[in-house]
Symmetry: C2
Subunit: 349 residues, 2 copies
């Protein structure tokens, strides 16, 4: 047993390598929008702690944050560390009660080696529970898992026998959302951008069907696979595809606006939505969704996801890129769309 | 006291004057889209009854029903009686138990003098309760009142202090919706098409403000009147105005798609919606709505509306046109928008 203490003397790391925003994208994001810099780590002040970042996310939402106008959070400024989810471990602390040494957390770490935790972080940082790997914590047991879990169970609420369509079906969120809907008894139809992705979600994950939007006519395929209409559309991409799906929405259908990947990586104005009238005619609902509003369900969601995984009922996949300096090209690759599952960067190569 | 009987011999009216669809509108609806005809009334069959129609509605939804593709119901065929809500009294019956002589009903009567009730009407016809005038029954205690009541209380659910915006604010549904939201403690901002309408809803009905969309910049006016954003948009018009409002939707805001008046009376393709991203970013909701899904609340809604009216808490206004043959020009006038409150035709001049 050790005596209680209010501060800990540790060997502080001296420098912090960061990827910062060098310029805003003009059209598709390119690696020269980013620069790497190394800065000194300041001494911790009362109540602060230092997180050594192990993995950072390569998430579509980053593309929104580096736009001039930002999205639901303020835009990342030029010269500022690129905002991103991440996971790491406390390596120095002035408040052992609040931020114990060695404790792992998921947080908006940004693309950097170290992140100073303030006494009151907002949005709150989340301790990683005993026995959960860092990679799992930031993927299917983190933001990705929460998004799929809460988006499906608390917003979309598919009922047994209903038809559930999910876009970006092979993405981290998409592949989990489809699997959770399947557990709820829905008929699940994926939409993805390659035959390889479609084969994966049907053959490995048990989706009922998958439409390759690059080679197939989505509208007629939806009609074939969902002759009674679409009860739930879990939308990760927005744009023209949303318009196509709205045309076939069922009475009392639900569209969960989880992401609009198709509009993130471009300066082209948003594709207009012509089929909104079907939302009214069919008394359907379209709803924006962000896990920020659902933190209260975190513990329960964790427990259920772990239970499902241990029972072999859900599968997931990580695509891990080595080295913080590869974060920019991983983001470029994200929008090219040739990955399966959740794309992350392991900070130390 | 009279003995029970299974059928009643009455003096049946012989002929029925009807307004039928002569051709579909090409652009704005015009009176020559309609024709008047007089047909013989067939003998009633077992279980049928004959309703003498007293008032018929001049409703925006009629414009959707006479389009080639219809809307949430099948389109009215060429030569068919124009579908419309209405109210009347049973003047002949073969089932005194089910359709008693003298009983008033609201129903989809169509634009005609008489309507045969089948043994099983679907959608169901609604008896008018004792003590309620026929005009009230088809307006603020009928479809119009139910739409406003259920759309506000069961779908939009404004909370005290929230900002509630309603378009077509001087229409039958709009003026009631705003007043009900006001009773719920919301700040109510109307949008209407003339200074006269705006003055009416503010001075007479107690709205907090009203924007004349024909002469004012709606976006900047909304910003001025709703600096914290719009919590509820009760949308009766759709189109470009919806897009303007979406730009200023609040976090967790609700858009109730009650009608898209602006798109009814035209063949011009729907105005695209560019600001959908705000729905996602602000975790807001947009929902189609139709009272067909809420019949269970009819009795309660009636009771509450009557209570509010008797207490002087809500006001309403009818604009009554005399004579069935004026139904077509009343519909044209509806889309010109120079009426206040609910527009109806009294069948017998």
């Amino acid at each position: 047993m050790r005596a209680a203490a209010t501060s800990f003397v540790v060997v502080m790391p001296r420098t912090n390598t960061q990827v910062v925003l060098a310029r805003r994208p003009n059209g598709n994001v390119t690696t020269d929008c980013f620069a790497t810099q190394t800065v000194d780590i300041p001494a911790l002040r009362e109540g602060e702690a230092l997180l050594e970042v192990r993995y950072v996310g390569i998430d579509p939402t980053i593309r929104g944050w580096i736009k001039e106008r930002g999205s639901y959070m303020a835009p990342v400024a030029i010269g500022e560390v690129v905002r991103a989810s991440g996971v790491g471990v406390i390596v120095a602390t002035t408040d052992q009660q609040k931020y114990p040494l060695g404790q792992a957390y998921t947080a908006l770490t940004g693309w950097q080696q170290y992140r100073v935790f303030e006494p009151d972080e907002n949005p709150p940082v989340t301790p990683v529970a005993e026995g959960i790997s860092l990679l799992d914590a930031m993927n299917w047991l983190g933001q990705i898992g929460m998004t799929a879990f809460l988006g499906v169970l608390d917003v979309a609420k598919p009922q047994p026998g209903e038809t559930f369509v999910v876009s970006a079906a092979a993405s981290g969120v998409g592949c989990l959302a489809g699997q959770i809907a399947k557990l709820e008894g829905a008929k699940v139809i994926g939409i993805a951008g390659s035959d390889q992705k479609c084969a994966w979600v049907v053959d490995e994950l048990g989706f009922d069907a998958c439409i390759n939007y690059k080679t197939e006519d989505v509208s007629s395929q939806l009609k074939a696979h969902a002759p009674q209409g679409i009860d739930v559309y879990f939308d990760n991409v927005g744009g023209a595809l949303l318009d196509v799906v709205l045309r076939r929405i069922a009475n009392r259908g639900r569209v969960v606006l989880c992401g609009d990947l198709s509009t993130y990586d471009t300066d082209v104005p948003d594709v207009p939505l012509y089929n909104l009238k079907y939302l009214m005619g069919r008394r359907a609902r379209m709803e924006g969704f962000n896990t920020l509003d659902h933190w209260g369900r975190l513990v329960e969601a964790h427990a259920m996801l772990i239970g499902w995984f241990q029972a072999g009922l859900i599968k997931r996949r990580d695509d891990v890129v080595l080295g913080l300096d590869h974060a920019p090209d991983a983001l470029v690759r994200l929008f090219r769309g040739d990955h399966l599952g959740k794309l992350v960067v392991q900070v130390a190569p």
